[in-house]
């Protein structure tokens, strides 16, 4: 069962080789058997999933198919509001977040025929890159027990890697889709800011939040993105641009694509294994006909400072109630990060927002004038041991968090599409990963390169 992808399961369902009910039952059985150890789920909705699967099966019998997700079991990060289910956002509070309407991305997947198995574990308030959670249990890396699943969408990556779900929604404010995807050896896509509606999902930082898919293959990520992308009047930041047919351009050869590899910052201080795997992937990409060149990228530090001012200010504003009324419920590192936001001036916050536009214009003009895509590492080291990342004082943990997410955060500030995908593994099974970054709203080219590399 764990070898399914959306594409292969959808074909099997369409050919009546497996029914939506059978697929759902098999995934629920796998969750029952293995999730006591992995801790990917906070809520399993077996009854709801089977009822949906039965209804979808009846539609198939009646000759109706909703498309490539018809009867495909998915699950979503526990910050997406789904009517009838609690949304803890990884906190101690069972129903921490609610919304007057269903999360738009979840609703679009449901309408496309997906079966939702439940809600997935995550770092508390989506604030942590390692996947530990004092309230719902630390998510174990399915590839290597005792090691981080990455975060904050830890359950989303672990569920896909463990074969519990064919895809999962995650959120990414500083790397929270790409970091767990890299740690668990799956694909994670942070789309362009505004490409996917965040309506009905818990905000952490309005200016930096993105929703996106975690999947087993790049082709599956293209399928899910095509369904969840597009304008939503419930999200004032969602773009009115049309949504391309991502699947149609996946097979277009990558010969001639100009791929940039950073000569500064992104390879500084990363492990030899990780650097070696990304460079080996670049050689493979070159072998497929792309033109690989070294590029010097603008110093990301001013952008990271700007992003920190924005994220600290906005997250403290959004989550001020729990921080002021029930601070003892929050993990110490989360409390420490939120608290900073109360001390940042409105002047600095507004200056940061103004600077962000200037940095983005300059980056797009300078970098994408030379190359079409960037290929970079995602994480500086393979998934570290869980006990190691939890050790030390809150300030030490916060500093460790910053180091682990330093390769992903710049692209939240810039709002650019970024795809994480596996590029090998260590002998102990911990995955190695690369990141592909593209022009604004050019997910099609990002996915095309990722698919070409993955297919080999």
């Amino acid at each position: 069962m764990s070898d399914w992808t959306i594409a292969t399961l959808a074909r099997a369902i369409a050919a009546r080789k497996i029914s939506p009910v059978e697929a759902t039952q098999e995934h629920l059985a796998r969750i029952e058997r293995l999730d006591g150890r992995i801790r990917a789920f906070i809520t399993v909705d077996a009854e709801g999933a089977l009822a949906t699967a039965r209804a979808l099966e009846a539609e198939l019998v009646a000759g109706r198919s909703r498309g490539p997700l018809h009867g495909v079991p998915l699950a979503h990060k526990d910050l997406c509001h789904v009517p009838g289910l609690p949304t803890s956002c990884g906190t101690l509070t069972r129903e921490y977040f609610t919304s007057p309407f269903e999360c738009t991305a979840v609703a679009r997947l449901r309408e496309a025929g997906a079966v939702m198995l439940g809600k997935l574990n995550m770092a508390e308030l989506a604030m942590g890159p390692f996947g530990d959670n004092a309230h719902h249990g630390d998510v174990q890396n399915p590839r290597r027990e005792g090691h981080c699943a990455g975060g904050s969408s830890s359950g989303s990556a672990a569920a896909v890697a463990a074969g519990f779900a064919l895809a999962a929604l995650g959120s990414d404010t500083g790397g929270s889709i790409r970091l767990p995807a890299a740690c668990c050896g799956v694909v994670g896509l942070k789309p362009t800011y505004g490409r996917v509606s965040r309506a009905g999902a818990m905000p952490l930082s309005w200016s930096l939040d993105h929703l996106g898919p975690l999947t087993r293959t790049v082709a599956d990520a293209a399928t899910v993105l095509g369904i969840i992308a597009g304008y939503d009047p419930r999200d004032a930041t969602s773009s009115r641009r049309g949504v391309p047919y991502y699947e149609r351009t996946l097979e277009t050869p990558i010969a001639g694509l100009r791929v940039g590899v950073a000569e500064n910052y992104y390879f500084d201080g990363i492990t030899d294994e990780m650097a070696g795997a990304v460079h080996a992937a670049l050689r493979a990409i070159e072998g497929l006909g792309a033109v690989v060149t070294q590029v010097r990228l603008p110093d990301p530090q001013p952008l990271v400072d700007v992003s920190n001012v924005i994220s600290r200010s906005e997250s403290a504003t959004i989550h001020s109630r729990v921080l002021r009324d029930r601070p003892h419920e929050l993990q110490a590192a989360v409390r420490a990060r939120l608290d900073t936001g109360f001390h940042i001036s409105a002047h600095d916050y507004l200056q940061a927002l103004r600077l962000r536009g200037r940095f983005t214009r300059a980056f797009v003009r300078e970098v994408f004038g030379e190359v079409d895509l960037l290929v970079l590492p995602v994480i500086p080291e393979p998934a570290p041991a869980l006990e190691a990342v939890k050790a030390g004082t809150a300030d030490e943990i916060v500093a460790r968090m910053g180091r682990f997410s330093r390769l992903t955060r710049p692209f939240n500030g810039l709002g650019l599409p970024a795809l994480a995908l596996p590029c090998g593994a260590l002998s102990d099974s911990r995955p190695l990963a690369l990141q592909i970054v593209g022009r604004p709203f050019d997910e099609a080219t990002v996915l095309r390169l990722g698919h070409a590399y993955q297919r080999g």
């Binding site: 505004g194 391309p244 001013p302 400072d305 700007v306 940042i344 536009g357 200037r358 214009r361």
Partner: protein, 50 residues
């Protein structure tokens, strides 16, 4: 956790100094919405689905 107030104060001071340095030559025409314009200003990519 050492002295939390001192650490928060140092982090905020560092961020404020970084913003001041970067914003020294910001033009009055730069506004927060400039970010969205920077993203949307690119030519539309791909074949529209709708």
């Amino acid at each position: 956790m050492g002295n939390p107030e001192r650490l928060v104060g140092a982090e905020v001071a560092n961020l404020a100094a970084a913003i001041e340095r970067a914003a020294a030559d910001l033009a009055m025409t730069e506004e927060p919405a400039g970010f969205t314009v920077a993203l949307e200003g690119e030519d539309e990519a791909g074949e529209p689905r709708e």
